[in-house]
């Protein structure tokens, strides 16, 4: 059994009757990095909260390592580390004490060697005796990660780990995540930055309005979705697309002076050659052509709109 998390028909309805997660199914494999992508309010945090025990479940079943997160909450929670979206730290506590406290909450014996290694890895070792209040925002985020990792979890949830974080720190964060993956930790992160998902995830899930729209290998998704646009400027204006060219789904723009053709670079044939030769056959002359890459951002928007 390689699934470490199995979410079945999960529904989460808040007290105000708002349904934030609608019949969601999700399987996460051991050792992978999953990026859950979705706009604000999509239900990403809610999903994580139900898995980690912060929110009750309205209906459905969540299993972690084959165990029910409600019935066997002690065993499932031991496996999980959570870094929530918002910074939440005791301001007057020392870094090291705060991290040790987290480990103890999970019922683990003190292990100073492990904690020191962890702090070193997160570049917090020099700050270990500092009061949390005195740290920068980036450092505080690292403390949150250290706390989440303090009990050696096998699964790490990172809720928007890089929201509002500068470029430097974002890169650091990515390398930390990759390092953890190499150590065998399963990582689930949420983000609304598509580049982030593209940079580090093995699989990408897209969530909107409480539904999982798709979940796919990142490579597959990008291949399938890497659509380019060919803009063809014409010598003569066209009123309508000629019937012979209908099959190319062209889109007239600039009052008929140009049209757009969408093609997929992931496929073996782009269709450009045959389009150009068909145009030639019916006597439409081109003036200029240019190609544009569709950004992942647009793909994302497109999927969400559909």
């Amino acid at each position: 059994m390689s699934e470490i998390i199995n979410v079945q028909n999960l529904v989460k309805k808040y007290d105000n009757n708002f349904t934030a997660v609608k019949n969601l199914n999700l399987k996460i494999r051991q050792g992978e990095i999953i990026a859950l992508l979705g706009p604000n309010g999509a239900g990403k945090t809610t999903l994580i909260s139900t898995i980690c025990g912060l929110s009750s479940i309205t209906s459905g079943l969540i299993k972690v390592n084959g165990l029910d997160v409600i019935k066997d909450y002690r065993k499932t929670r031991e496996l999980i580390g959570l870094v929530p979206q918002e910074l939440a730290l005791e301001p007057f506590e020392k870094v090291i004490n705060s991290v040790k406290f987290s480990r103890r909450l999970f019922g683990r014996k003190d292990d100073n060697e492990y904690i020191e290694k962890l702090l070193t890895k997160l570049q917090l070792y020099d700050k270990r005796d500092n009061i949390i209040k005195s740290l920068s925002g980036g450092m505080k985020r690292r403390v949150m990660i250290a706390k989440a990792l303090s009990h050696n979890p096998q699964i790490l949830f990172l809720d928007e780990p890089t929201a509002g974080v500068d470029v430097e720190l974002r890169k650091d964060m990515w390398s930390i995540i990759k390092e953890l993956k190499n150590e065998g930790v399963t990582i689930i992160l949420t983000t609304h930055y598509i580049e982030e998902a593209e940079m580090i995830a093995d699989r990408i899930g897209i969530i909107n309005h409480g539904e999982l729209l798709l979940i796919e290998e990142k490579k597959e998704l990008i291949k399938r979705m890497s659509v380019k646009t060919l803009k063809v400027k014409l010598k003569k204006t066209l009123d309508i697309i000629p019937t012979k060219l209908k099959k190319y789904n062209l889109k007239l723009i600039d009052e008929g002076k140009s049209f757009l053709y969408y093609y997929n670079t992931g496929k073996e044939r782009t269709g450009i050659t045959s389009l150009l030769s068909d145009m030639n056959k019916i006597g439409i002359n081109l003036f200029d052509i240019q190609t544009e890459e569709t950004s992942l951002e647009e793909i994302f928007v497109k999927i969400i709109k559909e």
Binding site: Y14, S55, R74, L82, A88, F92, F101
Partner: protein
């Protein structure tokens, strides 16, 4: 049972009060000393003995009760409210801890603090008056249960409060008056008849009376009434906590 987890919360809460030692220890002791000077020495010297006990000694059990009740409520309510306020409850909820274990950690620490303060005040009062405690073991048990029950009450207030105002308002507007009018400084029969009936509606009267009984062997109401009241009060608090636990009220979404 996640003993280490409970211990972590307990220790953390105890450390928090060591960080604010002045506030958590010195100030209740200081205010008690002031009470002794004002009520015990200054006014008390002109008061008759009450049930053969000097006025200075008479107010000791009431003063201890008054202080530990306020301390328990304040400590426990703040203890759980603060993590809620700064958002660190996520850690408690995502840890392999049951709600009962969380309550034991917080309420246990608040109880310990209030109980220690009670003992310190008791010791301090020996500097001012002669005391001869009739039922010391019962007295300690009664003190401990009072601290625990009021810590449970404080925990409930901390969970239910949505802001600092609410956190302060219940202790200030309800508990303080009840405690002050609960007979710390007088016996109920010193009141005019109308107010006597009124006073008997105040649950704190039964607790102070019971505690005073353990010192001097006399109280405003029979000791069994006090014990039964204490048990009812404790059960109500435990039931409310149980309800919060069952429904996740104000803790889980």
């Amino acid at each position: 049972m996640n003993i280490r987890g409970i211990h972590a919360i307990y220790r953390y809460e105890m450390n928090r009060s060591f960080r604010t030692l002045i506030q958590s220890l010195v100030s209740p002791v200081l205010s008690t000393i002031l009470y002794f000077i004002v009520f015990g020495a200054a006014i008390g010297s002109r008061m008759d003995n009450i049930s053969n006990v000097s006025y200075g000694a008479f107010i000791v059990p009431g003063l201890i009760m008054l202080t530990v009740q306020m301390q328990s409520v304040n400590n426990a309510s703040f203890g759980i409210y603060f993590p809620k306020f700064i958002g660190t409850t996520y850690e408690l909820l995502s840890a392999p801890l049951s709600f009962v274990e969380i309550v034991i950690g917080y309420v246990g620490a608040a109880t310990t603090k209030a109980f220690s303060i009670g003992l310190i005040i008791l010791c301090t009062s020996y500097l001012f008056v002669d005391l001869d405690i009739k039922y010391p073991f019962f007295m300690l048990c009664f003190l401990l249960i009072t601290c625990m029950t009021f810590s449970l009450l404080g925990f409930i207030i901390g969970i239910v409060s949505d802001n600092f105002e609410q956190l302060n308002i219940v202790p200030m507007l309800i508990i303080t008056p009840l405690v002050f009018l609960g007979g710390s400084f007088y016996t109920i029969d010193m009141l005019p008849p109308f107010w006597q009936n009124f006073a008997l509606l105040n649950p704190i009267v039964y607790l102070i009376s019971g505690f005073r009984w353990s010192f001097f062997g006399v109280g405003d109401v029979p000791i069994f009434t006090s014990i039964i009241f204490m048990l009812i009060f404790t059960s109500i608090c435990i039931s409310i906590i149980w309800y919060i636990f069952k429904t996740g009220y104000k803790i889980k979404n």
